[in-house]
């Protein structure tokens, strides 16, 4: 081997190890080891669609206006939230348009910079309270607050606070409930201490459809007697929570 070839190969090796250092996910996928994953909360309720950035027009108009220039994605990056990604080939109709990809790690911070800077008017500037990205729902069978603990992490993380959260405190914990004023930024999803989060964000349209069913479950839990509630918490919910705790905790950045 010539010296030049040796230098080339060693430089390539150094570069690749550097890349794997920066991106541990890539290293994981290359080593064929399976990544620990949690089942999403409320798995029977689908998201139905993609979560748009704040201030987005209705879907049809948004798709017509957005030219995929990347201003919102990059503004989000400069604001250090990194919430937005661009839709790939999986959804050809929405190809190239921005969406909030991973709320568990990168929720929207509601800084409202992207609608202010959108050059096409696909995102319209509006006050925080009137944003309608989605609706956060708490999985009562996984939430610490609903199963005998005092947690409050979601309400502390929420940028709108008591405007959105209702509390039903009892001897079973400080039970939080997110009402329909929620804007769906997903900060509560990230800051939920449960492995894989007990909060899920769905589209507002889906919420309108499933709301009665969800509220019925909520009312049923409130009206349970002490003995019945004890059985629900200790026999059904706590084993599920403990099982999630046993899976390696996802690292929060």
């Amino acid at each position: 081997m010539k010296r030049r070839d040796f230098l080339k190969i060693s430089a390539l090796g150094l570069l690749s190890t550097g890349i794997l250092k920066i991106n541990p996910d890539l290293a994981l996928s290359l080593s064929f080891r399976k990544k620990e994953e949690f089942e999403p909360p409320l798995s029977h309720i689908p998201i139905e669609g993609i979560i748009r950035p704040p201030g987005a027009l209705p879907e049809r108009e948004f798709r017509a206006k957005c030219i995929s220039c990347g201003v919102c994605v990059n503004v989000c990056h400069t604001m250090k939230y990194d919430a937005l990604a661009v839709v790939g080939l999986r959804d050809l109709k929405n190809f190239g348009t921005p969406y909030v990809k991973d709320m568990r790690d990168f929720p929207c911070g509601l800084c409202m910079e992207c609608p202010k800077h959108c050059p096409t008017g696909a995102l319209q500037p509006l006050p925080k309270e009137r944003v309608a990205m989605g609706q956060a729902l708490i999985d009562f069978s996984l939430c610490f607050g609903w199963n005998g603990d005092v947690c409050l992490s979601c309400s502390k993380a929420c940028p709108l606070g008591a405007f959105v959260f209702d509390f039903y405190n009892s001897e079973w914990g400080n039970q939080p409930y997110i009402n329909e004023k929620c804007v769906g930024c997903g900060l509560c999803v990230k800051y939920c201490p449960l492995g894989g989060s007990a909060v899920k964000v769905i589209k507002k349209e889906t919420y309108k459809r499933i709301r009665e069913e969800y509220d019925a479950q909520f009312q049923r839990l409130l009206n349970l007697s002490m003995e019945e509630r004890y059985l629900v918490v200790y026999n059904e919910n706590l084993p599920k929570i403990m099982a999630r705790g046993r899976i390696l905790e996802r690292e929060y950045r």
């Binding site: 030219i67 990347g70 250090k80």
Partner: protein, 277 residues
């Protein structure tokens, strides 16, 4: 007596590469959270205050959404103003594909067919209007969202950075953008400047502005030797030497790269750039 020049501009080829590199650097700086120029070349934000929007993207978005709003018009006007002054210089001075194509042109490839330079560039308006029509029909900005070299170039840069630093990015999009750019580069190897001269509708729009722009090519009469060096150097296929008698040239294909000015035997005395009516 001849006028004395106080300072001489560097060569046009050097100057325009420098402009391109400065613009690209400003765009890449956004990844390191420096907000000078945010976005991409189809739509961007200058010093977090002035919105800029590519006019063809504006047309597509307007036709797709079928409603007019003032907010968007304010984003196009600065761009239109810039290119009302400088004509189609976007293609030669700012477009990143021009740099990549220019680098590829130096390679010696056995099979190159300069078809694009022989057929009329007005054929490109077929592509231009069909994309506008399709955008209207599908209610989607079709070219800018899916096939644009500008959008995909900046998507690819952002995608690579986001992928390396483990930020949310769709891998299929990154692969698509990179393969589209690669496809354009391969097309450039076989059919030089077919994309720029015929297909690209973004350049076609700026070409229309060439007819009224302040910047244009001027000739000085009487000294031309008809060596046709300027024609040979022009990769956009403009007939530079045949228009010498007319005094000035307003071709929609001219991208003001300055190759003809540099190639001219009289060292830029006959063919030169001129800003003015």
């Amino acid at each position: 007596m001849r006028e004395k020049k106080f300072f001489v501009l560097p060569r046009y080829s050097l100057l325009r590469r420098l402009t391109l590199l400065i613009v690209l650097t400003l765009f890449i700086l956004q990844l390191f959270r420096v907000k000078v120029l945010v976005g991409g070349l189809s739509g961007s934000l200058l010093i977090s205050w002035i919105k800029l929007l590519d006019p063809f993207a504006y047309l597509e978005s307007l036709l797709a959404s079928k409603n007019f709003n003032l907010q968007t018009l304010w984003a196009v006007l600065p761009v239109l103003l810039i290119y009302f002054i400088f004509g189609r210089s976007f293609c030669g001075w700012i477009c990143p594909m021009d740099l990549l194509f220019g680098l590829l042109d130096r390679l010696k490839v056995p099979y190159r067919f300069s078809i694009a330079q022989r057929i009329s560039s007005s054929l490109g308006f077929l592509v231009f209007f069909s994309f506008l029509g399709l955008s209207f029909f599908f209610s989607l900005p079709l070219f800018t969202n899916y096939f644009s070299h500008l959008t995909n170039f900046f998507r690819a840069i952002t995608g690579i950075y986001f992928f390396l630093f483990d930020l949310p990015v769709d891998l299929s999009l990154l692969v698509y953008s990179l393969s589209l750019i690669l496809f354009l580069l391969i097309m450039e190897l076989i059919l030089p400047r077919f994309w720029c001269r015929i297909l690209c509708p973004v350049g076609k729009f700026y070409g229309l502005l060439n007819k009224v722009s302040l910047l244009h090519l001027r000739y000085k009469e009487g000294e031309c030797f008809h060596c046709r060096l300027c024609d040979r150097q022009c990769y956009m296929g403009v007939n530079v030497s045949q228009n010498v008698g007319k005094g000035k040239l307003r071709s929609q294909d001219c991208i003001y790269c300055g190759n003809c000015v540099e190639a001219c035997e009289t060292k830029g005395k006959i063919v030169k750039f001129k800003i003015g009516v």
